[in-house]
Amino acid sequence: MEFTRKDILGLRDMSREEILAILDTAKPCKQIFSRSVKKLPTMRGRVVVNLFYEPSTRTRASFEMAGKWMSADVLNFSVSTSSVTKGESFTDTALTMQALGADIIVIRHQSAGAPHLLARTTQARVINAGDGIHEHPSQALLDLFTIRERKGTIEGLTVTIVGDILHSRVARSNIWGLQKLGAKVRVAGPATLIPPGLDQLGVEVYTDLDAALDGADVVNVLRIQLERQKPGLFPSLREYQRLFGITRERLQRVARPDVLILHPGPANLGVEITPEVMEDPRCAVREQVSNGVAVRMAMLYLLSGGQGDALTH
């Protein structure tokens, strides 16, 4: 199949085929890690702009690496150092990026829907790198890629997402992506951190982590996002750790011996996950980082075309 979408804004409105196209393309992109020359000529002359209204280390670095390995010129704008602090409007900033020759804009914004607005206002192609508590497609795609790589398939697996589901764009994108690829999704967390209506999406909701882990093939452990939360959603980090922390002891007691553990990072060590579990061979956090570059290379490549087809052999 061919990929014909202008922008990648979320997994909710993507088809199963489109998701698989990105995952299939990411697989050969990952081969660059084992090469001595980590450079492909694919995006020569293309300009990728990272426009980040929220702090980020790995997502931004990962998109930057992905663009550079494919020979694109990558510009990084973070809001703290840009004209936005002088009061430039969102749309003006976007049009400035377009005037600078941006072919692809990778945007992270604290407001849900900002990437969609950007996609409508510029001719540049837009990739959502996280919008509020809405979607984070590149993270979900790299999670899907990692599951597929470790487990061979996603169809028929049971995946448990643990933690702050309410504030998590990673959870939302994962739920849509996993369901489209045929996985059964469970979520587990304090009742205050689970949005109402999830069961209508076909998601099984648990407030008891042991029950949610029973028989699960994959556990995706979310970060407790202290910066997004209002106080009072759960009594203390210590209690959270006791009820919802992923520990080696808990895994031994209730999880399948071959359970795969994912964490989008950065982890609050000793809160949602213990350092021993992070180092456990069943935990794929380091692979997730390199898979992230491969998936983002695939996303950039699939959006790097222009108008009109030039057919050659």
């Binding site: 990929f3 014909t4 393309t25 050969p28 694919t42 490549y301 009109g308």
Partner: protein
């Protein structure tokens, strides 16, 4: 747009005869198979390279390494196409430094695929030399590239298309000439 089959250029025994001849020519041109390897360009160069490898092994009693090359990320039309084909894996599980690499493809046309393949190979190592084997050379080169080993030279018009069908992919061995018809 529809396509009409105009002629069969090579029939089934013709395909295997051409491969046997090319295998002999590769061995002769390189005075044996020392430091020789074959790399098939996806998609239909791959089964052709495997068959050439088996044929060379049968003649010389020495196995020749065969690799797979995907050139999608090296194409020169990425920026001008509005949609992108899916990339597939390259699998060359041997070092190509100092080797003679025979690139194998089904049809040689503009030469752009071969240009991309050579660039991709150079990023993987430094071969001593690169040679090119194709089942059909249909002319219309846009780059200064020529094949070292050719199954059949076929003069064509740009409205025509040469389709190489191979049993591993298409269930039959046959090379046909088809013509695009505007509706």
């Amino acid at each position: 747009m529809s396509f009409v089959e105009k002629a069969v250029l090579i029939n089934e025994p013709g395909v295997s005869r051409a491969l046997t001849r090319i295998a002999h020519q590769i061995i002769e041109a390189n005075q044996g198979v020392d430091r020789l390897c074959l790399v098939g360009i996806r998609t239909r160069g791959v089964p052709l390279a495997k068959r050439l490898g088996a044929e060379i092994e049968r003649i010389e009693q020495t196995a020749v390494p065969v690799g797979i090359l995907d050139i999608t990320l090296y194409r020169d039309d990425v920026a001008t196409r509005s949609n992108q084909p899916i990339v597939r894996e390259t699998n060359i599980p041997f070092a190509i430094d100092g080797k003679t690499v025979v690139l194998v493809d089904d049809v040689l046309y503009t030469g752009r695929t071969v240009r991309a393949a050579m660039d991709a190979l150079m990023d993987l190592g430094r071969p001593a030399r690169i040679q090119l084997a194709v089942m059909v050379d249909r002319g219309h080169r846009e780059l200064p590239i020529r094949a070292d080993f050719v199954g059949k030279n076929v003069p064509t018009s740009r409205l025509e298309e040469v389709v190489v069908r191979l049993r591993e992919i298409d269930g039959e061995d046959r090379v046909v000439l088809i013509e695009r018809q505007s509706p």
